[in-house]
């Protein structure tokens, strides 16, 4: 058992898989010499050498094209897109090529690759370096989407993502990079598509993801003091989605709250609410409520960014108010 930061867990997870399989390669901007701009790949160049850990030009289409071509010819690339906002400059390779080619070729090719990206706000980087794009990826058929909320899950889900035969978008929450957590020694391998119930409560179910997980747990503690006992579910994997665990938790309390960092419209919360209302309609005791960032680009100033992204206070207050009705 060791205490690691979320960023240290990234390198630990990648190293675990690179040791296991020499076909696992890492590429991206500043990932080798510099150990990543978020220091998520420190030590990997030293251990695995410049042939398996490679710096690239600022050419995101080339980075992901290279990963795709390598994956379809026997390798298992882990590609880094520094900030998830930059998916916008290489989205074609992700959504039109990687996501569709297996289907279009009637299964002739598959893409055992992982695309890592720093995701989300909280670092006052402004509108072009703070987006939460988990819903962009979830909306595209052919992509698996994972968002770990703690160091242990980083290692376990990284291993699951690398071993998965399909393309996985692995979103690392920038706001969590410096957070610490206990990580068991030895190999850790998680399974994609398994949500985790982090707190059991009888009154309401809060379903959440990534950076919103610790905030939702903190809000649940506040709510408990106020007499509202919440179940908190960490989705962890948007695709595949563990509807079994999530819907069971929703039916058990009869109330659903989703806490999303992505902007309001067409988020994963909307998908979950729609699934829950279609499949558990008669178990619901009140309207499902989505707590999200408003439908705006993120402001840069710390005071403004803190007002935009769901906070512990806003989560607690919103649940409280809805439960009083």
């Amino acid at each position: 058992m060791a205490e690691l930061t979320y960023r240290e867990a990234i390198a630990r997870g990648i190293a675990q898989e690179m040791r296991r399989d020499r076909n696992v390669l890492l590429l991206g901007e500043d990932v080798a010499e510099a150990g990543g701009v978020f220091k998520g790949t420190v030590g990997l160049l030293d251990e695995f050498g410049p042939v398996r850990v490679r710096d690239t030009p600022i050419s995101e289409q080339a980075i992901l094209g290279a990963a795709m071509g390598a994956a379809m010819t026997g390798l298992v690339p882990i590609a880094e897109i520094m900030f998830s906002d930059f998916f916008a400059v290489c989205w074609d390779i992700v959504v039109n090529e990687i996501a569709k080619s297996r289907y279009m070729t009637n299964g002739q090719v598959s893409f055992p690759l992982v695309i890592r990206a720093g995701n989300g706000g909280g670092l006052r980087f402004g509108a072009q370096h703070s987006q939460s794009v988990e819903n962009w990826a979830m909306a595209v058929p052919g992509l698996k989407v994972v968002v770990p909320s703690n160091p242990r899950d980083v290692v376990g889900l990284m291993a699951a993502a690398v071993r998965d035969p399909d393309p996985v978008i692995f979103l690392e929450q920038k706001a969590l990079y410096s957070t610490k957590g206990e990580v068991p020694d030895g190999e850790i391998v998680d399974t994609l598509g398994s949500a985790k119930v982090l707190r059991q409560g009888g009154d309401a179910t809060i379903v959440t993801l990534g950076t919103m997980v610790p905030r939702s747990l903190a809000a649940a503690e506040q709510l408990a003091l106020a007499g509202v006992d919440c179940t908190v579910v960490d989705v962890r994997s948007l695709v595949p989605l563990d509807t079994r665990t999530i819907l069971a938790a929703v039916s058990a309390t009869g109330r659903l709250f989703t806490v999303e960092e992505n902007p309001r419209l067409c988020g994963w919360g909307a998908e979950l609410v729609s699934i829950a209302t279609e499949e558990c309609f008669f178990d619901l005791d009140g309207p499902p409520v989505r707590i999200t960032t408003p439908h705006i680009p993120l402001p840069a100033a710390d005071t403004l960014e803190d007002l935009a992204i769901p906070s512990v206070e806003r989560i607690a207050a919103t649940v409280q108010k809805a439960m009083e009705k």
Partner: protein
């Protein structure tokens, strides 16, 4: 490795050089080049007929007039090399040995199609023949070909990836990223620009800053400009062999600009009326097939041998047509298969 110097590229602006300075391939190779060109031509003509009969659903983009390029690489490539083609990919797919029947059946949207109808004419793929896909987003396959080349390099397999693309494709960002990336990683990849002068309905020189969209940009990536008569199978074969061996020898990528012309329209039933008749006539006079046939006869190949090849191609197309038409329509069970490696499409439990 340039088969043509840059200054020569300039001179040949008037049109491809009639007498390329290439060492002619041996006779067996030449017959193979002729056979492939004849097969590709016959197939494309049939594809067009079937489109007019409304049997080819959706769209289709023919290589009529550009067969020498696909044939040359088909002959020059090693069986385990990788081909990355575009929506205009029938010829490049067949040139790797993929049988005509399944390709035609794919165009017709039948269950016996190369991808059971799921991909269609723009996405022909046959991994067992090294055809790693046909890509319909302009430029996207260029970085992907780099990835296959990177894989070959890492596995030290000696394989080469070849990506075919058009003149208009040289103006999209992915082209630039792929060329720089291939050079700095010294990847075994060959970029083949089939300059047929036109995009869809717009002349490429009207929206391109240089005269030769690929050759005039080679130096931006530290590459030699290579400009070849794309309607001359011998010249193309020579360029292909040079680029492939350079790549296999670990000397890195090459880019070839092949001057050619699409004799028909861009896609579907496009009559191509936006092109001046004189230009069309000039290029029809440079049709690679009669030209190559004459050259073989001059070289003493008996006409009977050529006629046998032509007859065989005719029969192959007939058989393929029957096979394709006889194919069943793909059933509902196919719709939800093969999104994932487990064969299914489920996103939840």
């Amino acid at each position: 490795m340039a088969t043509t110097t840059h200054s020569k590229a300039r001179r040949s602006a008037a049109g491809p050089d009639p007498t390329p300075d290439t060492t002619a391939p041996d006779n067996a190779t030449r017959l193979e080049l002729y056979r492939l060109q004849v097969e590709l031509r016959s197939f494309e003509k049939r594809a067009y007929d079937l489109f007019l009969q409304n049997l080819v659903k959706g769209t289709s983009h023919l290589s009529l007039g550009q067969e020498a390029i696909a044939a040359a690489f088909g002959v020059a490539m090693r069986s385990d090399d990788y081909t990355f083609a575009t929506y205009r990919g029938h010829a490049h797919t067949l040139a790797r040995g993929v049988p005509m029947g399944p390709v035609l059946a794919e165009l017709l949207g039948r269950a016996n199609g190369l991808m059971a109808g799921k991909g269609g004419s723009m996405h022909l793929t046959s991994v067992e023949h090294g055809v790693m896909g046909s890509y319909a987003i302009i430029g996207a396959h260029l970085p992907i070909a780099c990835g296959a080349a990177w894989s070959a390099q890492y596995r030290d397999s000696g394989q080469v990836a070849v990506a075919f693309f058009g003149d208009g494709t040289t103006n999209i960002g992915a082209f630039h990223e792929a060329l720089n990336f291939a050079v700095i990683w010294k990847l075994p990849v060959v970029f083949v620009c089939e300059n047929n002068l036109w995009m869809e309905y717009t002349r490429t020189t009207t929206i391109t800053a240089v005269e030769h969209p690929a050759a005039d940009r080679a130096s931006a990536y530290g590459l030699e400009p290579v400009l070849v008569d794309g309607n001359d199978a011998d010249a193309m074969h020579h360029a292909a062999v040079a680029a492939l061996s350079r790549a296999r020898a670990g000397e890195g990528p090459s880019m070839i600009e092949a001057l050619t012309y699409r004799q028909g329209g861009h896609s579907r039933a496009d009559p191509g009326k936006y092109r001046p008749q004189q230009e069309v006539d000039e290029w029809l006079a440079r049709d690679p097939l009669p030209r190559y046939r004459a050259r073989l006869l001059d070289a003493g190949v008996p006409v009977a041998e050529l006629e046998a090849i032509e007859e065989a191609a005719r029969q192959a197309v007939e058989r393929a047509t029957e096979e394709a038409k006889a194919g069943a329509l793909p059933g509902p069970e196919l719709v939800l298969t093969d999104v994932w490696a487990d064969g299914g499409s489920s996103w939840r439990n």
